[in-house]
Structures are given as C-alpha cells and as structure tokens.
Amino acid sequence: MKRPKLAIAGLTACSGCQLTLLNCEQKLPEIARRFELIYFPMGESGCDPQAVFDAAIVEGAVSTPEDLATLFKLRNSSRLLIALGTCAIFGGVAAMNNRISQRAELMFGVYGEAGGSFQSFPPSPFRNFVSVDFTITGCPPEKPELLELLAALLTGTLPPVHCYPVCTECRSRENLCLLLERNELCLGPIIKGGCNARCPATGIVCEGCRGPVREANVAQEMELLSERGFAREEIERRMSRFTPEWNYGQRR
C-alpha cells in the first residue's frame, strides 16, 4: 500500500495539536510505518524543503510574515491542507483580544519599545488566506478525531463531518445541566461537540474551546445568559476566549 506523504507543522500555537498526535503512544509505531512523515520539525531532523505532500496537517493561527510564508508553502506543496485545532480554524486564544485592542499596543505591553521591531499582526485563521480542505477542531483536539483523519487519508479520502453542539453529548451522558440547573455561564449550546462533554462531565462549564457549532442559536444563548444575570460584557469576553468573531444576533 502506498504510504501517504505527510507534513505536520505548527504556526502561532502551543504545539498542543501536534502533541496530541505524539500522545497517541500505542498508535505511533503504526503511524510511522504507514505514513511518510516528510516534514515534521517537532519530531524529525532534516526536512527536505522541496518536498511535496499528500496532506499537510497544520496547527496554529497566522500572526507573522513567517507564519504566512509557511502556510502558503504548505498549501502549494500539498494536495490537502488540514487545519488542526481551534487556532487554525478560528484564531484561538492568541486572537481573543482581536476585536478590542490593537496589535501594536499588545506588543508594546510585552516587549516595550523593542516590540516595534518585531513583525506581527492580529492572529487569524487559515481561511482568511488560503482554502482549507478539512478541519479538526479543539483546544486541544480529541485523539479519536485525529486518528479518524489519518485512517481516512490512508484510503484516500476524508472523514465524515460531524456537527452537533456540546449539549448533545452532555445530555446523553446525563450530566447535570450547568446552565439551566446551576445558572452557570456554560457555552455548551453554541459550541461544536465531539469532546464527549469533557468539562461539564467534571462539573466545569464549557469554555468554548471547540469554537462555534454550525447554525448556532447565538442570540438565544445570549438571552438565556442575560436572564441569569450575566453582563453582556462578561458573556462576550468568555465567548471570545477562543473565537473572536461571533455574530451575536445569529438565530437559526
């Protein structure tokens, strides 16, 4: 069987999505056998700059000219481009203040006057710059979704797209509803599921790390939360932790 050629890389990120792959300990030897990991700086030395790939699996937001160059290069040298993780799809934590502060101010805050000499722009998702063939969301992504993608690539295809909110899995686990029964600021109804409601299952609200579910009824969530006494400002701050761009009036 032909071994698909892979590039695995990261832009502005914590490397957590790539680490999720390295954390599939029991599958790693098999992955190494079935794929050619041609470009994977986190795990391999000597990456050929001229290589071409069947799929490039890339994490992180785009926030520097170097990030953008890497993204273009991988888009151009790979048949498929897969955005891995919330940062790559929505901007993620680094982008949380995109709508409320200027990049230059943030740079100055951390680096002082020297901040002006570093080139950087507001962290943005891949889709602002290139076409993306498939996405795996999550901060961090769930291992089974990553393995499902690799399995599909082996057969020359992509996995089916799941689309339901965190609440679907949360209800089927029969967790206490933190939003309705405990009046907490839970984002479950508008966030993409697939995590098996990890956080609510430990009694902790959904912080929205997987980004918006398709056709989220955002306006209804806003109403539910403000009825429970949460200020608009706090709700928006919490919602933008992983996704700066929301249509707060969206009602589907």
Binding site: N23, G46, S63, G109, Y111, P123
Partner: protein, 423 residues
C-alpha cells in the same frame, strides 16, 4: 571573509527556533539563538480578565507544560485571594505535576533525544531500528499521560484541577488503575537510568550556576528559590532578583538571576539536593559523579533519574489519596477580592514563576510569567559559543549536529518562553 551557518528550523525541540553561527574564516565570532516562536502576548491578554479565567487561559501558553502552568497559576491566584486548599487537593496537584513530568521527560528522552544517541534523524527512524526502546519510552510517557488525563479530566490543558480544589474527586478505581500502570513502568524507568548514563562526547562546558526551588521543603511548589552562587531568596521578591531584557533577534526574553546566568531543570534540582524516593536515591548514589557539579550534558541522566523518582513518588501519593478517600477532597469556596500573588513550581524543565495582581472586583491588572527556558537562555547561549569555538574548523554537518545536541540537552520549550512580562 565572514559567513553564517544557519540551523533553521531547530528540530526535535518544542516550538520554533533557529541558530546562526557567525564565522570569520574558520573562526567563530558569535552565536545567535533566535527563539522565533510567534509571540502570543499572554501577559497582555490576561489584563482585564477575571481571576477565575486566568488559569484557564494561561495554561494555553504551552501544551507540553500545560499542567504545571495551570497548577502554578492556580497557586498564584489562590495566594492573591488568600485561599488555602485542603491537603487532599495539594496531593492531587502533586500527583498531576508528577504525571506531567513523567510524560515530558519520557517524550524528551525517548522521542527527541534518543535519535541522537543512535545517530538517527528522528522518531520514524527509531520505529524502524530500535522499536523496543521506542516502545518502552512510549509506555512510560503513556502512564504520565494517564495520570494527567485521570486527574485533570483532559490530557492537554487540564480542566478538572480548579481554584479551591477539584471539579470531581478521583475515585477509588481510577486511583488503583494508575497505581497498577505505574508499577508496570518501574522496570523501564530503571532501565532509562542506564540508557542515558553516558553524556554526549563534547568538551567540558562551563560549570552551571544551578537554580531550583529550595529543596528543604517537600512537594512541587516552594516559597523560596536557591542558587549555587548567591544563596536563597523568596519567590515573593523575585522581581528584585531576576531581571529580564529583550533581545532584538529573539522573541524570548533573556533572564539573569542575581546578575548571573542561571541553569534550571533536572540537573539543577539534583545538584541542589532535591529529596529522592527510595530506589531513585540508590541509583543516584551510584551515578552521582555524572551529575554533581557537571555541565548541562548531565541533564539527560538527571531527567532519567527523575522519571524513576516521579513514578515512585506518584505511587506514594496515590497510597495517601486512597486512604483519604474521594469524599475527603474538600473544595474551598472562592471569594473574589484584591491582592497580589506569586508562586513558583518545578516544571519539568525547571523553575517556573507566575505572578498576578487583582483589583477589588477580582479583575487582573498585572500578569507576569517567568519560564524555565527564559531562565536557561543565557546559559544556553554561553555554552553554544563555547562549543562552537571548540569545534572551529570542523565540518559544517558535525558542527550543526553538535550544536543541536547541546540545545536538546537543555530541553528548551520555546512555546513557553515566548510572551513574557510587562516592562
């Protein structure tokens, strides 16, 4: 005639970096280590966020170290708000921190460093030529991850450890499961101490100035730091003793401790006398001439000893937690308020400091994080120059591989290092 040898990207390290060696003929003029990770500016992102959000956001600074970042942030916020957690909560935090150390050291030693010992380019080569060794390392790493996932509710960026306690107590069965799995990896941890015994064949490097948490106290977090030259100082006063400056070619800041270049991490902890568990101390006694007073090449062996130490200590902690039982966890109620708190933990790579200030509404107005990699950066740059000068005239590929190996001895975590404090 000047020329530049560039290693870009640095591989088999966590995060993005590059290295430039400036040559004049064969003479090495200087070495520039550029940590080029794109800055995410966490310290400014945290401003005007509530005390409750800070630990959840800041752990995203780095995936490998997300557990210890979260624990350190929880401790700093709790200090600021004057919260004291139950002994059971402290034990769970010690357990998850040990889990993080096991996964981190195993990943570094077996996936990133072992290829160097066997002259292979990376993990794929390992899978082909040394599958059993790779398997053993991955088995150790998996148990570290099991602990983090069981205690933290999620492997990377844990959720179950929270301000004042735990989301959900850890049940009897999961504790027993972790206990069994830890027992299973004890032989592989002993073997690691043999496998990583021999340091890389470099010339002797400058003697490090070791910095670690004061080993006099127990556990993973301490109120005092200790340095070989310079004695000890309180974590709360760290700003007076640690200065940071910006390098124009690098996104990480360069830290000096008491005016000197410090070295943090496993080697420093063992040199400063960190308490060891039964078996780890026996092995340490037999190999300590490779560690005491040694340069950074001894760090690999020190990490291997710590694998055994963390495994044994985790078993002890689980024993205590089994006695306390799930209901003894005792979460503490949080009352928001103003205050400033600084906490230091031993992250796998060394001393990690978080410090936050909150106003009367519990909103953050000051945030500062000092990471092990920024503390190590000065010593690493110094050693790189020494090694590059020693190798003047060598073939370029030899120079490049030696310098990359030296960098890996420091086990840098570049994601962590890039962000830093408000000036």
């Amino acid at each position: 005639m000047g020329s530049v040898v560039e290693i870009n990207p640095l591989t088999r390290v966590e995060g993005h970096g590059s290295l430039k060696v400036y040559l004049d003929g064969i003479r090495v003029e200087r070495v520039e280590l550029c940590l080029t990770e794109s800055p995410r500016l966490f310290e400014t992102l945290l401003l005007d966020k509530s005390y409750a959000e800070v630990p959840e956001i800041i752990c995203r600074i780095c995936s490998l170290c997300s557990t210890v970042h979260k624990v350190t942030a929880l401790l700093a916020v709790e200090k600021a708000l004057g919260i004291r957690v139950s002994p059971a909560t402290e034990l769970t935090r010690e357990l998850i921190t040990n889990g993080g150390l096991i996964q981190d050291h195993a990943l570094h030693l077996y996936c990133l460093l072992l290829p160097d010992l066997l002259n292979l380019p990376g993990v794929t080569g390992l899978a082909q030529t040394a599958p059993e060794l790779l398997k053993a390392g991955l088995a150790i790493k998996r148990v570290g991850n099991l602990i983090q996932e069981t205690v933290g509710g999620r492997l990377i960026h844990p959720v179950n450890i929270r301000l004042g306690g735990l989301g959900q107590g850890i049940g009897h069965d999961p504790l027993l499961h972790m206990q069994n799995e830890l027992q299973e990896i004890l032989p592989a941890c002993r073997e690691a101490c043999r496998l990583f015994l021999k340091p890389f064949d470099f010339p002797k490097l400058p003697a490090p100035n070791y910095l670690a948490l004061d080993p006099a106290g127990p556990a993973y977090s301490q109120d005092f730091l200790q340095m070989t030259a310079g004695g000890s100082f309180a974590v709360a006063d760290y700003r007076q003793h640690i200065t940071e400056s910006v390098l124009l070619y690098s996104h990480a800041k360069y830290a000096r401790v008491l005016g000197q270049e410090a070295t943090v991490g496993a080697l420093s902890r063992l040199n400063l006398g960190a308490g060891l568990s039964a078996e780890a101390s026996v092995i340490f006694e037999t190999v300590k001439e490779e560690i005491i007073g040694k340069d950074i090449r001894g760090n690999n062996l020190a990490q291997a000893i710590e694998l055994l130490q963390a495994t044994e200590r985790s078993l002890e902690v689980i024993g205590e937690l089994l006695q306390i039982g799930r209901d003894g966890a005792g979460n503490v109620q949080i009352v928001p308020g103003s205050g400033r708190g600084s906490a230091a933990c031993e992250a796998p790579r060394g001393v990690l400091i978080h410090s936050y200030s909150f106003d009367a509404n519990g909103m953050c107005y000051e945030a500062d994080v000092i990471t092990p990699t920024s503390l190590n950066q000065g010593a690493l740059a110094r050693d790189l120059l020494v090694l590059a000068r020693y190798m003047e005239g060598s073939e370029q590929s030899l120079l490049v591989s030696a310098l990359e190996r030296l960098i890996r001895c420091y086990d840098p975590c570049i994601s962590c290092s890039v962000h830093l404090l408000q000036l």
